[in-house]
Amino acid sequence: MSTLRRRLVAVGAIAIASSLVLAGCATSSDEADSGSTSSSGGSSGGDSSANCDAYADYMGMEGSEVEIYTTIIDPEASTFIESYAEFEECTGITITWNGTQEFEAQLAVRTEGGTAPDLAVFPQPGLLKVFKDSLKPATAELEASVDANYTPDWKLYGTADGTFFAAPLGANVKSFVWYSPKTFADNGWDIPTTWAELLALSDQIAAEGNVQPWCVGFGSGAATGWAGTDWMEDIMLRLYDGATYDAWTTGELPFNDPKVKAVIDEAAKVIKNPDYVGDVASIATTTFQEAGFGIVDGSCAMHRQASFLGGILVGDAGATIVNPEDTDVEGGITTFYFPGVSEDSKPALGGGEFVGRLTDNDAAAAVQLYLASADWNNKKAAIGGWFSAHKGLDTANVGDPVNKVAVEILQNATLFRFDGSDVMPAGVGAGSFWTEMTAWVAEDKDNQAVLDAIYATWPY
């Protein structure tokens, strides 16, 4: 008994000690905070006052705090914080970047529970529509700014039931095939320009037998399967026109329609072909990043993935992003356009985030407006690894060769469509579509059975 008592005393002592330490931390950080605000206040009055003229529209809310709730966490989060540091200093608005992996579930809990964040960055328009009753309509200034700077498609994606809520933030383009120019040059392969050429090249690579033609990975934690939905969407855009694609994503075209069946049959030609991808079932457990590693080390030839994969491969696999002409760089990677059915058909599939406001905080409205400005978009792009669909974005500020192409595609796209699974009802687009694409490879589920299963979950 006495030993336990001694232990309990020890635990108590630790508790007291740690609470003292905590109290110490709290006071010291408070002091640090107040110190930094006063010093930054001083400096903004002095040397940097000239820069602050650009922020005249957002002044008059010193001391306000704005919380941005988002799925974007480190390492990307740091670049966002850097991009609006000057805005914070000039306007006196403090922005808290609160990133979480549990955004989708927690945002619902927080809005219902009365602790809603000021701004939420929605990674999917479908999710945005779920929260239309909690969101505050965009201010007139924001709507005017978005009208002037984005194509009508982008505004529509931030709109629910005829009310415009959320301005676009970043963008990504998904119609890319990643490859290594060195591997292609060493083997004498040409970049395919049509879907038929792509399949012919895959056959040729498989027949040569040195390299696996494709690396495919659907794994992505709780979101496993989304990479498969991108394949479907990209091929959908290629086989049919924009109207058919829209009908499909809005539910007017039933998910088990023969037109959709034709799409999954085309996708199966690559993904379910063991000659192209090796073990089909392992696609479900291979993460999309790991699948990309195969491009860098030369174990496979092609990997269809969005523009953002480049940053991951540079960071984790030691890759270098090069121009297609640089065929002598070991570990050099770049992209070619995921080809359409004919050479002159070049539709693009993409995605993006949207900033919605959930409180009546005026400072939050100012931040929302600032994030839709050309000034911020150029600042953010200049930091690197990022681009948006903002018309005022100067491609000179986009350093990465792949991203530069992506911006050009976005600004000149004749047919651009948003990632379909993000537009579909969340129960399908972030639910059954993912799980069924996973079952399609993991359990070798039949093409028609996959479509029927997704059709059954659609809230028609």
């Binding site: 336990l4 508790a15 966490i73 480190d74 990133g99 927690q106 809990v109 219902e112 984790d316």
Partner: protein, 307 residues
């Protein structure tokens, strides 16, 4: 009856569990269940490039030891997050009160329910016991509303807005509420088994209800309290949901689990630091478990072999 059958059953159980076959089986289970954790441990001391290119078992043929992951996790903060050791203190500040509060309340409640005769006692006890069935997820939103807005029926304010959002208090209250039914149930069963003669003897000697509690009941129930303390500690320490929800998204009070959950990065590419983070978070529960371990089994069996 019980005096006769209990030793026999115990002997039989002893024979079954001490047979070599059972031991071998137990070892097998232990090894199988430890392999993933072991793999995680091995991964955590490998350099990032190795982790990304090969499985942890390759470590034994090409041993490359690197403590970079631990250094990165513990001491390198990012622009949005302080280093992990600060969250470590947050976790302590969340966990210690969230263990002490429910135990204190539950010991008193269990004492009352086990030894005081009053009307509706059994009904009350079974209601509390039944509350264990309610999933805590059901209570998240109503409880959060209570903390952020208070409770009003019509215009009549029952609980005002206490303005405690963003402090530790909602997390403590939530953990206490969710821990109480099991705590009361476990301690009640243990307390009600204390021999009536002992209590009566103390009463005859002139001990009041509080003296009886502090001198007889409390010292005797230490194993049960210790075992529940381990349970509650492990549960609160490893909890993500309650900390995330009632922490109101503030990094200043978020427990370590909240930080670890997002350590992998936006696109899941930083998992080499996750392995080290997992082991940092495991250290304290292991210390607590081994320190109180010998009460654990005794307390677990509390009330389970009632004749």
């Amino acid at each position: 009856m019980t005096a006769l059958s209990l030793p026999k059953a115990r002997r039989k159980a002893k024979n079954i569990f001490s047979s070599p076959f059972a031991s071998a089986f137990a070892w097998l289970i232990a090894i199988f269940w430890t392999i993933p954790t072991f793999g995680l441990l091995v991964s955590s001391i490998r350099p990032e490039a190795d982790i990304n290119s090969s499985g942890w078992w390759v470590f034994f043929s090409e041993p490359n030891v690197s403590l970079d992951n631990y250094a990165a996790v513990l001491f390198e903060g990012t622009t949005t997050n302080p280093p992990l050791f600060q969250f470590f203190f947050n976790s302590l500040a969340v966990t210690i009160p969230a263990v002490i509060f429910p135990i204190t309340l539950a010991v008193f409640a269990a004492y009352g329910l086990a030894w005081f005769e009053f009307k509706g006692r059994d009904f009350l006890f079974f209601t509390i016991f039944g509350l264990q069935v309610v999933p805590l997820q059901l209570a998240l939103i109503p409880l959060l509303q209570l903390f952020s807005q208070g409770l009003k029926i019509g215009d009549f304010t029952i609980i005002p807005d206490l303005e405690i959002t963003g402090t530790y208090i909602p997390i403590w209250i939530a953990h206490t509420i969710f821990g109480l039914p099991l705590a009361i149930f476990l301690l009640h069963n243990f307390l009600s088994q204390i021999p009536r003669e002992l209590v009566e003897a103390a009463r005859v000697d002139g001990a009041g209800w509080f003296k009886l509690f502090s001198k007889i009941i409390l010292p005797l129930s230490v194993p049960a309290i210790a075992s529940f303390a381990i349970f509650q500690f492990l549960w609160v320490w490893n909890d993500l949901l309650v900390g995330l929800t009632f922490g109101a998204g503030t990094k200043d009070i978020a427990p370590m689990t909240v930080r670890i959950a997002e350590m992998v990065g936006t696109r899941g590419s930083g998992w080499e630091v996750l392995t080290a983070g997992a082991f940092v978070s495991m250290v304290v529960p292991l210390i607590v478990f081994f320190a109180l371990q010998r009460y654990f089994v005794r307390g677990l069996l509390a009330g389970s072999v009632k004749g």
